[in-house]
């Protein structure tokens, strides 16, 4: 089981769109996929038309008194299942803080699912917190969407530095440019230069396209409702890079 996490300290950079589309593509490739919507805003749950609610609240899940298994919902797509968001996730830090070894908590919760799923996507809320630390400890590959600005590249460096202090498991990092606006010279320049210079950058960038925004209207991944669109093609290439980087075979 490979665990991918879409993560960035900043919000509105395309984390959920990435998790939803790459999750769909992985399932389409035949992998059994679980997407865990950890963001209390529940955008991924909304996109799959699943109510952002975990029966009994998220507290039981984190404490381990309620099984993850019973909270999972099937999406409308074969092999793709979702652990929905819950409003109680806004207090995940407090819940984790109360748990034993909080930084390893998510990894421990996911371990029993290793025979059931080939791929897990963690769609994280924007923050740097105990939850982020737990996600970073659980993930095999961190997918970091960045808007091509100098400041966001600096954020990536801060993240890498933060993880350098980890003992034991450290996820691999694959950053990529997201919401690239071709009308902005700086965007195109940074998106063209940096991937060639840094190994932690994907060659694929996701452009800012209205069809991606249409996902909220269609309530489905763009890769599903518009599979031949440029956006779908770009997500397809990004998924290829991500699965190769994660060493996902078969």
């Amino acid at each position: 089981m490979k665990i991918f996490a879409t993560y960035n300290i900043k919000g509105g950079v395309g984390k959920t769109a990435t998790a939803v589309n790459l999750g769909y593509l992985a399932a389409r490739d035949g992998y059994r996929v679980l997407l865990w919507d950890l963001d209390p805003q529940g955008a991924a749950s909304y996109l799959f038309r699943i109510k952002p609610r975990v029966k009994g609240g998220g507290k039981g899940l984190i404490k381990g008194t309620k099984s993850i298994d019973s909270a999972i919902k099937g999406t409308d797509f074969d092999r793709l299942e979702l652990l929905p968001a819950d409003f109680t996730y806004r207090n995940l830090d407090l819940l984790l803080d109360a748990a034993k070894r909080p930084a390893r908590r998510l990894a421990a919760l996911l371990a029993p699912l290793k025979d059931e799923y080939d791929v897990v996507f963690l769609d994280c809320p924007p923050s740097i917190s105990l939850l982020s630390e737990s996600v970073l400890h659980a993930a095999d590959l961190l997918l970091v969407p960045l808007i091509p600005t100098t400041l966001s590249v600096r954020t990536l460096d801060q993240l890498t530095e933060f993880m350098a202090g980890f003992n034991g498991h450290r996820p691999d990092v694959l950053a990529f440019f997201s919401m690239v606006d071709r009308r902005k010279r700086l965007h195109t320049q940074i998106a063209a230069d940096l991937p060639a210079q840094r190994p932690d950058f994907a060659a694929t960038a996701i452009p800012a396209l209205s069809v991606i925004e249409q996902m909220a209207v269609q309530r489905a991944p763009v890769t599903a409702f518009s599979p031949r669109s440029q956006a779908a093609r770009q997500y397809g290439q990004l998924w290829q890079e991500a699965r190769e980087r994660a060493g996902l075979t078969g």
Partner: protein
Amino acid sequence: MREFVVDGEASADTDVPAALAGSVTLNGSLAWANGGRTRTSRRNWLDTFDWRLYRAGLTLEQAAARGRIELLLTGRDGNLLASEVLAAGRGPHWPSLVSQLPAGPLRELVEPVAGVRALGPVVRASSKVAQLRAMNDDAKTVARLDIDRMSVTFPEPAAVPARLTLTPVRGYAGVTDRIGWAITEVPGINAARGSALETALTAVGLRAGDLAGKTTAVQLSPSMPAAAALATLLTAQLDAIEANVPGTIRDIDTEFLHDLRIAVRRTRSVMKLCGRALPAGLASEFRPEFRWLGDLTTPTRDLDVYLLGYGRMTAGLVAAAPADLSPFHDYLMRSRAAQHRRLAAGLRSARFARLTTRWRAALKEIGSARKRPTVARLAAARISTAQRRALQAGQLISAASPAENLHELRKRCKELRYLVEMFGSLHDPAQRWQAVRELKALQDCLGAFQDAEVQRGEIRGFASQLLSDRRVPAETLLAMGEIAAGLAVAQREARREFDGRFADFASPASQARLTALTRTDGRTRAAGGA
């Protein structure tokens, strides 16, 4: 998962989507949508000739769609236990032994159940499956409904009622239950009784688990005239002989011949032990012909026994290597092929056809004119005699007795066992099982002794024949010697075990259980006197 069938003759024309859209809406909170393209598949259900998978609660289906061939093994509740994708054009040609399946979890589950029996098609069908999605008020799919319009293509074409399978999307079991209840309220749609396999079989007038010649399937009433009862039993054995002939000729697996031989032996035993209850002259007329049939089958079966035990024999080699025996194995295979050709020719012969036709006609002519004795009286008398003979034959055996004496006892025990089985429907099954417990153990021991005796003799004969070919390496003969020594050890062990086994059989408690079967009170009280 819940399954339904669309009943009635108009099943094929029923517009299921329209019926559901009109009646199954859960107070307007549910809508139905098309779930995609109709899928067509060719389905081939596989089992052994004696339904071993079905009896073990397993269903094996080969499904072919869009050039993809897949084997699907499901359990009693319809849940998938294992699947195996077969390489295009490389799948086994059915019937086929389980060992021909690709190694994997599916084979591991099927192999111990099917044993030496081959898997073959029991029914084939063509399925056209349309899918509907049940959606909640968020337009989220909560359940899927497959509408399977299947038609049977083998053993004969037949229409099958449309079958609906409702599967919940994970996390939506509650609402799917409510949808299921609502579907049963739709006129003409009912909960399915039996699996798709059972429905397909019913459409062609078959039933899973049916087997020609199964003695327990023959129900006798105690007061039935003995001659009529024997005709029923012997007809069942003839059915079994004929049912196993095609499989024996095609050499599908070794059990066809084995079961054919059992039916022949049962027939011969009934004629020998109960022949006087049959019309005068009938047994004496047919016994030589059935003896011919029995003898025809013996050489192939003996070689089958050798080959089936070959792996175990080579595994027991101490000095020799299994490869040393390869020329011997090749020789056995060649001999078996030659003997099987002879057997197949015999079963295709006019003599065999005449025997079965005349025998069936003769059995049909046996009427119920003679009311006495009743079958209960006859069974009691014959079981009692066979029991006494077995006991006497065993009591004559001492440490110095030759192997022939044990062989004689084995034959007496077989006769007793056949009688108990043939007249089984007159007795309580639990009582019957108890009665033959010690007899079975004794038979196993005598079987091990006799098999070793026969095989020791045969291996000497094989060695002489191989030597006369002058191409056999010394290593092979040495290895065969080791096999012969192993057989001698096994025979000695069986002989040592014999005294205890016979003492158990001859014990008053064991004999009393057998004697209980010969009382004509209890279950057989209704029978009239002889």
